[in-house]
């Protein structure tokens, strides 16, 4: 399975990754804040199977939060 990981403490909840994902599986979690106080972006475990490892989310992220691995 492809894998997208988020350095959540760096996330600023800007949502640009959400918009960029062609599979619409990157989402801001309304119930989860990081230490900076931002709602963080994530991909749920069940959605991860839909990831095509295109790295669109990561390329759009201004804060280098996202790492993408292909398998």
């Amino acid at each position: 399975m492809n894998k997208v990981t988020f350095k959540t403490d760096l996330c600023k909840g800007c949502g640009l990754c959400e918009e960029a994902c062609p599979k619409k599986i990157v989402k801001l979690n309304p119930d989860k804040l990081n230490a900076k106080g931002y709602n963080v972006a994530e991909v749920s475990d069940e959605d991860m199977a839909k990831c095509i490892a295109c790295a669109m989310c990561a390329r759009m992220c201004p804060d280098c939060v996202i790492t993408v691995e292909k398998n």
Partner: protein, 245 residues
């Protein structure tokens, strides 16, 4: 597992201080990706401006000097002439490059200094709280143009890329935009081309990057990208304005 994307080595681990969704971070990363890909991190010297990117020295793993407001091209000229074996780039906003530093910008071009200038055009002064810049669009509301920029009293925006392309010392000038992933890929190609131009010793290489300032535009980061696409790209057409053989 093969890594498809990770933070480039030429960026440090320091968290960026930029506002959420500010495209400065994306352009920093693109410069760093190019340094990684060309393998020149250890032989590159950057010059940071005054403006939101004043702390760029904390973010790049290469050496970076911070210049007085608008003077980055003058500082970079000195660095490059003292160390012609190094890659030298400046990273400047539109208040820095097109207002207080216009003189330096024009003359670094006309002298054909063999350096690379990365120009962030976000149509506003970011750091100081959103005042009108020379690049502010006609009708655009800012802190100092609350009724919209009036060209009758405040003049017209400067198209820096087109202006510099007329100078014989300028080897490469291209305008790109952070308006989505394809635009980001294109911007990276232009930044790579600029450093290659410097490597070939052809003269000044200049990349203007249309960028967003969600905070001072008063928009969400997503809306800011949309606004850039719909408003800035018609006034500032994307494309290559100069590519010397």
């Amino acid at each position: 597992m093969a890594t498809v994307f990770k933070k480039p080595h030429a960026l440090t681990d320091k968290p960026l201080h930029y506002c959420p969704g500010c495209t400065h971070g994306i352009v920093h990363r693109l410069v760093a990706e190019v340094l990684d890909e060309m393998g020149i991190e250890g032989e590159t010297i950057g010059v940071a401006p005054v403006g939101c990117s004043v702390f760029a020295y904390d973010y790049f793993n290469c050496d970076v000097i911070q210049a007085p407001h608008g003077r980055a091209p003058a500082v970079a000229t000195g660095v490059k002439r003292a160390r012609p074996d190094r890659f030298v780039f400046t990273y400047q906003g539109d208040g820095d490059l097109a207002a207080i530093g216009t003189n330096e910008t024009v003359h670094v071009g006309t002298r054909g200094e063999n350096i690379t200038v990365i120009f962030i055009n976000n149509a506003i002064y970011g750091m100081t709280g959103g005042q009108m810049a020379p690049t502010t669009l006609p009708g655009q509301v800012t802190q100092t143009s609350p009724y919209g920029r009036n060209v009758a009293t405040q003049g017209y925006p400067i198209r820096v890329c087109e202006m510099l392309a007329t100078l014989d010392g300028v080897a490469y000038a291209e305008r790109v935009a952070i308006d989505g992933v394809p635009g980001i890929m294109n911007a990276k190609k232009a930044i790579r081309k600029a450093f290659e131009t410097q490597k070939a010793g052809k003269g000044l290489s200049f990349v203007e990057v249309l960028s967003t300032c969600p905070t001072n535009w008063g928009m969400t980061p997503k809306d800011a990208i949309k606004w850039l696409k719909e408003n800035m790209e018609s006034y500032y057409p994307l494309g290559c304005y100069k590519d010397k053989e």
